[in-house]
């Protein structure tokens, strides 16, 4: 296997992390919605925590994307 092929395969493998982060972000918003419908009165006060969870889950996906870009263009 030459270097170019290995790079593209590596970037594709790194992109799996983005999909995993998608599961995480969906989980954050899904769980929030589930409990917000059960108790709408408490939903607004938890919006800050919702976005903290979203930011933490999203960051890992973005890091996976950055790794893919580094493998493709910078190595």
């Amino acid at each position: 296997m030459d270097l170019e092929a290995a790079k593209v395969i590596g970037a594709g493998l790194a992109a799996i992390g983005v999909g995993a982060a998608a599961i995480g972000v969906g989980n954050v918003f899904g769980s929030f919605l589930e409990s917000a419908i059960r108790n709408p009165a408490a939903a607004d006060s938890q919006q800050g925590r919702l976005f903290i969870g979203f930011a933490a889950a999203e960051l890992l996906g973005l890091i996976a994307f950055a790794v893919a870009m580094i493998i493709l263009y910078a190595v």
């Binding site: 976005f51 973005l62 890091i63």
Partner: protein
């Protein structure tokens, strides 16, 4: 990619005195924020629409800081408000789709240096406020209450690491989110072009599909622009809370 490239408009790229398209768009962002703020700061007793918009943004940031930091949080409104407005306007200006005569919008926040400087200033505020208010007691931030004695060194190391990585994650999140959105739009735009070039029945159909998809992605990106500005401001206020109140 062309849209992320920094091009000198006046001066030489190698020299320290160079006016780039990045600097130009920062000035555009500054001018727009200035117009927005001056238009709304008329202090009328019965506010007009513009004044309500400006008061809405300032009230939003103020309430975010008071809920997260407490009454002392009002002192940090200037920095958080500045960073929120700058990121929001820079993101939205970067989303503008048109390009005229080789000149195209430049997303200021898609450069790691720009977001990095903002994150470092936020981190510096946390450090300065923390050591100013609490002295060396500030290090108790790294030891959660009720930690067993045996685990103390390990927990301290982990907490210190997660503290030190904060400015990096703050800057990385913003700039990668902007770059990823623009690259996504660009990839689907290239599908439109190559679909038309392919001809036949399937080619234009794929082009049309990609074009509709681009519109959806653009709407999503507008949401991401606002969310990223909000997340940056929210995390900054949380970090300031750590420095002001420890635990």
């Amino acid at each position: 990619m062309h849209q992320f490239q920094i091009a000198p408009l006046a001066g030489d790229l190698g020299s320290p005195f160079v006016f780039t398209n990045s600097a130009l768009w920062m000035l555009v962002v500054l001018a727009l924020i200035w117009v927005f703020m001056v238009g709304g700061m008329k202090r009328q007793l019965v506010p007009g629409r513009w004044q309500v918009a400006v008061e809405g943004v300032t009230g939003f940031i103020t309430s975010m800081l008071t809920t997260n930091v407490g009454p002392e949080g009002r002192r940090y409104v200037p920095w958080v408000f500045t960073v929120f407005m700058f990121i929001l306007f820079a993101n939205l200006l970067g989303m503008m789709p048109f390009a005229l005569a080789g000149a195209h919008p430049f997303t200021v926040t898609s450069q790691f240096t720009v977001t990095g400087v903002m994150a470092i200033i936020s981190f510096a505020i946390v450090l300065i406020v923390g050591f100013w208010k609490h002295g060396f007691h500030f290090f108790s931030l790294f030891i959660p209450h009720g930690t067993p004695k045996i685990l103390l060194p390990l927990i301290f190391l982990i907490e210190l690491l997660s503290f030190m990585v904060r400015p990096f994650s703050l800057a990385l999140r913003l700039f990668v989110a902007m770059i990823a959105g623009h690259i996504l739009v660009e990839v689907f735009a290239s599908f439109v072009v190559s679909g038309i070039n392919a001809g036949g029945v399937a080619g234009p159909a794929i082009s049309l599909l990609s074009f509709v998809f681009i519109m959806g992605v653009m709407a999503l990106e507008l949401l991401v622009c606002a969310i990223q500005a909000y997340v940056f401001a929210l995390l900054t206020s949380l970090y300031i809370n750590d420095a002001v109140n420890l635990h």
